[in-house]
């Protein structure tokens, strides 16, 4: 084979790497804003700074919660995904879909509903004989597990669909039990996917804001909620949050192992589903029951109850047309931009070993550990700085135009959810059959045609999963939306939060129902896309 001209090769190799680092460099932008916040932020009151000695216990509890939620979500999500993809049992399709829907319930809303229903006089608390409020670390563990397990289920199911049937069928022929086949064949293949799921789950927990505040679980973001008006404190807590990322990153590396080079060498023949062994039926239905009853039906019944009681009391509901269109515009666009931004680093880092690929990957992950409120503060102060610098007294500046178009909001979403998109996309890219691409290249196909005909179909399930995750995450997002949304625009997430906090439950219920319906629509669209 004739070697390609050296200049062309180096340019081809250079551009994606440069693009990747360019995107990662953008992550520094909110940090620059946070620095400006520290330098220029005027304060309303002089308050004593948060002592570092108070910070470390919070770091410990934050890490403990992140690791426990990650472990429970990984176990539960993996089992649900495995059952969904490998076994045939009554109700599989519907139950698997329903088990992923808790994803659409904002964690602060789920926390409020769980706390209310598990209270001594709540529907479940009275049934279980609870005498005390259901709150604190254990309650946060339950709520965040319910919120995070669907992430794992979606990612692991996408990975399992790409597992070749051959080795499994051979092992079955040789008499290996399902458990043995799972441990020996499936688990090693799942390690990279688990590592990516851990990125999403652990960092989701570390940066979760509302659920821990509602459940009075003393972690770093709880402290951030208490002292959010003081930028110096917020920065100190931000430092603690970044400190939490290091052990998590180490764990991700450990879990990932050397599996990243494992690729499909040909289009895999898909595993055919087998009937589920009888002894696995009970735990499988139990896992579905746990997710669907507590994560979906309980919130659904509660919010329907709010709407119904509003109707009964002839309460008037707010008009939500404008709020829905805002939510759709920001969410559809934000998820798309984040997906595009995540695709370049995921593609570059999955396709080749680069000198600083480990560092680049860690940089992508680290963006997730920064809570939305800090990213929002960073971008906000940057906007103020830019406005100050650009303003020549002639009226509206370009910064204001960009702000009013919602571009800073979309940028905030991209920075906040970049690693979620990356973690969802990279396993799919690792599954691309390189030999097919090489054959196409040898036959003279252009890069664009190879991407369209080979690469895109191969990563389609990953793209679908990533878009779904990003869409729902952005639809629920609150701190960035609150701070960077253009004037006069509100979203459903804000409406739920606002109405629920004010005790206007019928409005909160209606907005929450619409958010769930939107998530369901996106699920159905993407399912249909996959089938076609």
């Amino acid at each position: 084979m004739q070697p390609a001209p050296p200049a062309q090769v180096s340019l081809k190799a250079f551009l994606p790497v440069a693009g990747t680092w360019g995107i990662l460099a953008l992550a520094v932008v909110p940090l620059l804003g946070m620095f400006l916040a520290l330098q220029h932020s005027p304060t309303l009151f002089d308050t004593p700074p948060l002592a570092l000695t108070d910070l470390w216990p919070l770091v410990g509890r934050t890490l403990g919660l992140a690791l426990l939620v990650s472990a429970s979500a990984l176990i539960l999500g993996t089992w649900l995904a495995f059952a969904q993809v490998r076994y045939d049992y009554f109700g599989n399709g519907l139950l698997s879909l329903l088990s992923t829907l808790p994803l659409a319930v904002p964690s602060y809303l789920l926390a409020a509903i769980i706390r209310e229903n598990f209270a001594p006089r709540g529907s479940l608390g009275s049934l279980l004989g609870f005498e005390n409020a259901f709150m604190g670390f254990e309650a946060a563990l339950l709520v965040l597990t319910l919120s995070c397990t669907p992430y794992v289920q979606i990612l692991v199911a996408a990975a399992l669909r790409h597992t070749p049937a051959g080795p499994d069928e051979a092992a079955r022929t040789l008499g290996a039990t399902p458990w043995r086949r799972f441990v020996a064949l499936t688990l090693p293949r799942l390690r990279p996917t688990w590592a990516f799921a851990l990125v999403i789950v652990a960092f989701y927990v570390i940066s979760d804001f509302g659920a821990v505040a509602l459940l009075d679980c003393e972690v770093l973001t709880w402290a951030l909620y208490q002292s959010r008006h003081a930028p110096p404190d917020a920065m100190r807590i931000g430092f603690g949050l970044v400190a939490c990322t290091f052990p998590v990153l180490a764990l991700i590396r450990l879990l990932h192992g050397q599996q990243q080079a494992q690729r499909q060498l040909s289009e895999p023949r898909k595993l055919t589903k087998e009937p589920m062994p009888k002894h696995l039926l009970a735990p499988t239905y139990l896992a579905h029951f746990f997710m669907v009853s507590l994560g979906l039906f309980l919130p659904l019944i509660t919010i329907c109850g709010w709407v119904f009681s509003g109707l009964q009391q002839q309460e008037s509901f707010a008009q939500l047309g404008g709020i829905i269109s805002n939510t759709l515009i920001y969410t559809v666009t934000g998820a798309l931009l984040t997906l595009v931004a995540a695709l370049l680093p995921a593609y570059t880092l999955a396709r080749g070993k680069h000198r600083h690929s480990g560092l680049a990957e860690n940089a992508v992950y680290a963006t997730s550990a920064v809570p939305g409120i800090l990213i929002a503060i960073g971008i906000f102060f940057l906007v103020l700085g830019l406005n100050r610098w650009w303003d020549n007294g002639s009226g509206v500046t370009w910064v204001e135009l960009v702000e009013s178009a919602g571009l800073f909001l979309l940028f905030g979403y991209v920075m906040r959810f970049l690693s979620e998109g990356y973690a969802a996309l990279k396993p799919a890219i690792l599954n691309i059959d390189l030999r097919q691409e090489e054959s196409a290249q040898t036959l003279g196909a252009s890069s664009a045609r190879i991407f369209q005909k080979i690469t895109l179909p191969a990563i389609k399930p990953g793209l679908k999963a990533a878009y779904l995750l990003l869409f729902i995450a952005i639809a629920k997002e609150l701190p960035i939306t609150l701070m960077l949304t253009p004037l006069g625009k509100q979203t459903l997430a804000y409406r739920i939060f606002d109405a629920q906090q004010e005790g206007v439950l019928p409005d909160a219920g209606l907005a929450a129902l619409l958010l769930l319906l939107m998530a369901l629509c996106v699920q159905l669209i993407l399912l249909n896309w996959k089938k076609t």
């Binding site: 004593p48 608390g125 102060f381 103020l384």
Partner: protein, 354 residues
């Protein structure tokens, strides 16, 4: 081109969402066209002002819609549930701020902004609409409505006669593990500022410390405390009065009742004020003033009390019949003391309550 086709196929589903929204009743419909309404001209329609509101959208949106329909002035609103965040934002933006009017859930932040010259002087005629206790001494903000600090209790577990006669008595050990509070909440902090003024620093800190020893459950806000009482999580919460009425409007079965301390002028009986001020950098002060006038109009004041269950601040407006007359029980705290939030935050941090 498969993806767009799929989206098109699912348009009916998205249509359901929009239809649901369209079917919902329009809360923002004006209450009634006022008799002195000024017909909006095409030119006025182009006017707009920007409001930074720490008051919830669900509470004030109908009033703003009515204002726009009456005057033709559009109101662009930036909402933030945290008045602290919004006040800090306004201060940080300085002259760059688009805000013309600042509407605060708690007057403490208005006082702090007034001290930093972020708010402009209001006209005397406007200030005269409310009693002197319901406005800034320098005339830079004015209260639009009030919320009484009360205890919310579980009537099935506690008889009103057993409740403490004064706030000081709440430290009795019989309430151990039965109380709830929200130290992160702005009204809580404003009430602590009031206690520091009424009792002095030492007694206020001692009282907080004793309550802390009773192991109260911490809530992020007031409304979850009311639900917590009804759900049996706690027997007593320390809240603003109006959450109970709003929650009961949606659920009459709620097992909770409000209680004001029976001793007159007790430190537990304090009125928290929501208020409004015009931003000093505003280039639309005339339109901004119209909005302030609108919120203090008889009709808006009626809205605050009948729909939101708050106490009106304008002289001569009767409070909602569902609200008890507690005016004789109230302690009066000069507003400048409520604005000393910094000292309160320091006290709360020293006591590890922040």
């Amino acid at each position: 081109m498969l993806f767009p086709q799929m989206i098109l196929r699912r348009v009916p589903l998205l249509g359901i969402i929009l239809a649901l929204a369209a079917c919902s009743k329009n809360e923002t419909k004006p209450i009634k066209e006022p008799t002195d309404a000024v017909a909006a001209t095409k030119n006025e329609q182009r006017d707009s002002i920007t409001l930074y509101s720490g008051r919830s959208q669900v509470l004030i949106e109908p009033l703003l819609t009515e204002f726009t329909q009456r005057t033709g002035i559009k109101v662009d609103v930036r909402y933030d549930k945290s008045t602290q965040n919004l006040a800090t934002r306004l201060l940080s933006e300085g002259a760059q701020s688009k805000a013309d009017v600042f509407f605060a859930q708690d007057s403490g932040y208005l006082g702090a902004l007034a001290k930093q010259n972020v708010l402009a002087q209001l006209p005397e005629a406007l200030l005269a609409l409310v009693p002197a206790t319901h406005r800034d001494a320098q005339g830079k903000w004015i209260a639009t409505s009030g919320r009484a600090r009360v205890l919310v209790y579980d009537p099935s577990a506690v008889q009103p006669d057993d409740l403490p006669k004064t706030l000081s008595e709440l430290t009795d050990s019989k309430w151990k593990d039965k109380l709830g509070w929200a130290p992160g909440n702005a009204s809580f902090q404003a009430h602590v500022s009031a206690l520091r003024h009424l009792w002095g620093e030492e007694k206020a800190a001692e009282w907080l410390s004793k309550i802390k020893d009773l192991n109260p459950k911490t809530y992020p806000k007031n409304s979850p405390q009311v639900k917590g009482v009804s759900n049996g999580e706690i027997q007593i919460g320390w809240v603003n009065h109006y959450y109970l009425h709003k929650l009961k409007a949606a659920n009459p079965e709620l097992k909770a009742a409000n209680y004001s301390f029976s001793q007159a002028q007790d430190a537990g009986n304090v009125m928290m004020l929501s208020g409004i001020g015009i931003v000093s950098h505003s280039k639309k002060k005339e339109a901004a003033q119209k909005l302030v006038e609108h919120l203090l109009s008889e009709k808006s004041q009626q809205h605050f009390t009948t729909k939101i269950y708050e106490y009106p601040t304008r002289t001569g407006i009767k409070a909602n019949a569902a609200l008890p007359d507690i005016s004789s029980l109230m302690s009066h705290v000069p507003q400048e003391h409520l604005a000393d939030v910094g000292g309160t935050l320091k006290m709360l941090r020293d006591l590890k309550l922040q």
